[in-house]
């Protein structure tokens, strides 16, 4: 607390800054928040140094380097409430797709400590660079997380609700339905999928459920809260809000859904095999928080 205000820090991990940008999208509500919240550290918008303690620490971005890991552990000790904001921090996000390769491949072109350094003065400065960790991780893997707000970007309304709750001392809970519940194309009738189609390539009927038409739409296995914004804009859900309550693995759940809704008259197993890149499509935002967290690593013997 600082003059009766809540102190807040916004700490970037391996982030694209979209979550920070979402906070700035609160626009004139920022004035209202400024009456109750003191941002004491947020390198994207201010020059202040890290404080020794803070009420709320918001993290954006995935854990991709050892520096990210260090930050999380240090701030957990310094803050009362730790918040994971956005799909990267809560679920792994798009950077999590790197877990389908191995770190050595990501860094293939790097030369390490080559002896042939051109430095006429003969001195080697010490220039520490963060090292990549073996797999992208989520905050929950390392520390206790008090609040998670998924979404890529997190829905503005949820971010507002969160700040409201912090100011009022009220509860903040994520909605626990699925995107289908908010979707304008959902008629509530039983869905039957008769074809498999490719998004961006096959023609779309804008008035019919995309999944039913045969497009991969992760609405049924994705948490609500975004008001089905992608479908409203005319394209299918890719699951950025993560799985709804009770589900941990979006891919497994989506496979179950597909099994349930395919028309057994019209669809054969061969048709399903045409769905490309299952791991990249069904785990688009959630690979590091999925059952295996990524590609299963084989230890080399010996």
């Amino acid at each position: 607390m600082n003059n009766g205000k809540i102190t807040l820090a916004i700490i970037p991990l391996s982030t694209c800054a979209g979550c920070e940008n979402t906070i700035l999208d609160l626009e004139e509500k920022l004035f209202f928040l400024a009456d109750f919240i003191d941002i004491v550290y947020a390198p994207i918008i201010m020059d202040s140094k890290p404080p020794s303690s803070v009420d709320i620490a918001i993290f954006t971005g995935a854990i991709r380097t050892d520096e990210d890991e260090r930050k999380v552990k240090v701030w957990r000790k310094k803050c009362k409430i730790l918040v994971a904001l956005g799909s990267c921090a809560t679920l792994g996000g798009i950077p999590g797709l790197a877990n389908l390769t191995i770190v050595e491949d990501l860094l293939k072109q790097i030369y390490v400590n080559h002896p042939n350094v051109q430095n006429p003065r003969g001195k080697e400065p010490n220039l520490d660079i963060p090292k990549l960790v073996n797999q992208v991780k989520i905050l929950k893997d390392l520390v206790k997380v008090d609040y998670s707000i998924p979404g890529c970007p997190p829905p503005k309304k949820l971010v507002e609700k969160f700040f409201q709750a912090m100011i009022n001392g009220g509860e903040f809970k994520l909605p626990d339905k699925s995107v289908c519940d908010e979707c304008p194309l959902n008629t509530g009738e039983k869905k039957v999928m008769e074809k498999i189609k490719r998004w961006g390539i096959d023609p779309v009927d804008p008035n019919k459920c995309l999944l039913e038409q045969g497009f991969l739409c992760l609405g049924p296995v994705t948490r609500s809260g975004c008001e089905a914004r992608c479908i409203r804009a005319g394209y299918p859900c890719r699951g950025c809000m993560g799985p709804p309550k009770g589900i941990t693995d979006q891919a497994a759940d989506m496979i179950s859904v597909i099994g349930s809704i395919v028309s057994l008259d019209k669809i054969e197993v061969e048709d399903l095999m045409k769905i490309k890149d299952l791991s990249g499509s069904l785990y688009r935002f959630t690979l590091p928080s999925s059952t295996f967290k990524g590609k299963i690593r084989r230890k080399l013997n010996g």
């Binding site: 391996s14 982030t15 694209c16 800054a17 979209g18 979550c19 940008n21 999208d25 626009e27 920022l30 004035f31 400024a34 004491v40 390198p43 201010m46 020059d47 202040s48 995935a62 991709r64 520096e67 798009i94 950077p95 797709l97 790197a98 390769t101 990501l106 860094l107 293939k108 072109q109 790097i110 030369y111 390490v112 400590n113 080559h114 350094v117 051109q118 001195k123 400065p125 010490n126 220039l127 520490d128 660079i129 963060p130 090292k131 990549l132 890529c152 970007p153 829905p155 998004w199 390539i201 096959d202 804008p206 914004r229 804009a233 005319g234 394209y235 890149d277 990249g280 499509s281 688009r284």
Partner: protein
């Protein structure tokens, strides 16, 4: 005894960076601009179906995500051999300009402004929260304009950030009549508002050109005689510091013209114009480059602003502070273009050119002018349309060699003066210089072969030292 100063992190930019300066006896020996993040997009885009790529690449950056989206979708158009109908293209441009406005406003008015209006305050107070307190009217007004850009993005896509409505051969949805009319009205209102905000009487205008720094460099941008080319990409033009034409080339041929310099002991790549070799061929991109190469923006009020601010001189401007004025001019341009597009009813109704799904070209390039500069997306796909290789050249990476040179020069300049608050002043000056470029470091370090490293060059441009970037066991060198 050499002294090392580290500034970490550089604040009020997008992404993680630090600067290390090595001081010897009365001289600046070395200066390093290091970028500290990496996610590996070019690698994990492999094996993804190409039609999904425009939904993934925007996540490289949450400030310029529409640029990545559009660049990707243009490449995907070519892979499937389709072109969007003119109205769909207009909607793509609308998205692009709204994204440009959203990003530029964020940069200049939120991230950069403290360098002008709060420059004498201590670090804890140099930031947006203080701007909110002291200049609340200015902030309120500019946030209204930003809100307009957000509304356009949200109407066309899912959100102001990571909106991905463009599809191969078209655009997901036309705009509704009600929304078009509403946004048109708001667009005109906000153009007026913005012009008011940046008039000569504005308190920040004089503070932009506070120093006279002459940094010669080559410049690169898309070039077109007619509509200023943010989307249309027939020609990329490279000019020298004095304005001479170095080369005009087609985006598809960028690999023949632009090389990426790799130092034997470093994995960072710095783009350079092959014809001139490295480091002579390094160049700058972004609003100043666009201004220098294309001259007058193709809308009236934007061009008027350029004239008034001395941006049209016939020769390239080299002082990085001009980036900010060019950026403001582009905001006006974006607003005027948004209005022009919204005036066309054709965007309410059109038919996309659906690809047949056949791969027509196994390789394609998509180029746009992103807020920060020329952005190139290059993909190779296999017979089924899955990505085999991805090469992304983003704006900021092209600016970093020059930033390295400038850091050293500024350090030398300040060093000559009073030594008392040397480090504090140095931090401020260097950071402000870096911010002139509005660097987007998340964009810059998608590449394998990160982080960006620094070469220190003498006045003659020779490399004095280059610093190896080793991500070794300890991360130390």
């Amino acid at each position: 005894m050499d002294r090392k100063i580290t500034f970490h992190p550089i604040t009020r930019i997008e992404g993680h960076a630090k600067v290390t300066i090595i001081l010897g006896e009365g001289e600046v020996k070395d200066a390093y601009f290091q970028v500290l993040e990496y996610r590996g997009f070019e690698r994990f885009l492999r094996r993804r179906p190409i039609e999904e790529i425009p939904m993934i690449t925007p996540r490289i950056c949450g400030l310029c995500s529409t640029s990545h989206h559009i660049a990707s979708v243009k490449a995907v158009d070519r892979i499937f051999g389709v072109e969007p109908p003119i109205q769909a293209e207009k909607l793509r441009k609308l998205l692009h300009y709204a994204g440009l406005l959203h990003s530029h406003i964020l940069h200049f008015f939120i991230l950069y402004m403290p360098d002008i209006l709060l420059k004498d305050l201590p670090p804890e107070r140099r930031g947006f929260p203080e701007l909110l307190k002291r200049y609340s009217n200015l902030v309120k007004e500019i946030l209204k304009v930003r809100r307009f850009s957000r509304k356009v993005l949200e109407e066309l896509g899912s959100s102001s950030i990571h909106a991905t409505p463009a599809i191969p051969g078209g655009f997901s949805k036309p705009i509704s009549h009600e929304k078009r009319v509403e946004l048109l009205r708001e667009g005109r209102e906000n153009l007026g508002r913005f012009i008011e905000i940046i008039s000569e009487k504005a308190i920040f205008i004089d503070g932009i050109l506070d120093v006279d720094i002459n940094i010669p460099s080559n410049f690169i941008s898309l070039y077109f005689k007619g509509e200023t080319p943010f989307y249309n990409s027939k020609i990329i033009r490279a000019v020298s510091s004095s304005g001479e034409l170095i080369e005009d080339f087609h985006p598809e041929k960028y690999m023949e013209i632009i090389g990426e310099h790799v130092v034997p002991y470093s994995y960072a790549k710095a783009p350079y114009i092959k014809k001139l070799g490295y480091p002579k061929g390094t160049y700058r991109v972004g609003p100043l480059a666009r201004n220098n190469i294309n001259g007058r923006l193709s809308t009236d009020m934007a061009a008027e602003f350029q004239e008034k601010m001395g941006l049209i001189t016939g020769k390239p401007l080299t002082n990085p502070r001009y980036y900010n004025l060019a950026r403001i001019a582009e905001c006006i341009y974006a607003l005027e273009r948004i209005i022009q597009i919204l005036e066309d009813e054709g965007i309410e109704n059109f038919k996309n050119n659906i690809p047949e799904g056949k791969i027509v070209n196994r390789e394609a390039v998509g180029v746009v002018e992103a807020p920060r500069g020329t952005l190139i997306h290059h993909f190779k796909v296999d017979g089924e349309g899955s990505v085999e290789e991805a090469d992304l050249i983003v704006a900021t990476v092209q600016n970093t060699p020059i930033i390295g040179v400038e850091i050293k020069e500024i350090a030398e300049k300040i060093m000559g003066k009073d030594d008392e608050n040397f480090e504090v002043k140095l931090f401020q000056e260097i950071s402000r210089l870096i911010r002139d470029y509005d660097p987007c470091l998340s964009c810059a370090t998608h590449i394998p072969g990160f982080p960006l490293k620094v070469e220190i060059r003498s006045e003659r441009g020779e490399i004095i030292s280059e610093i190896p970037r080793g991500l070794g066991e300890t991360g130390k060198l």
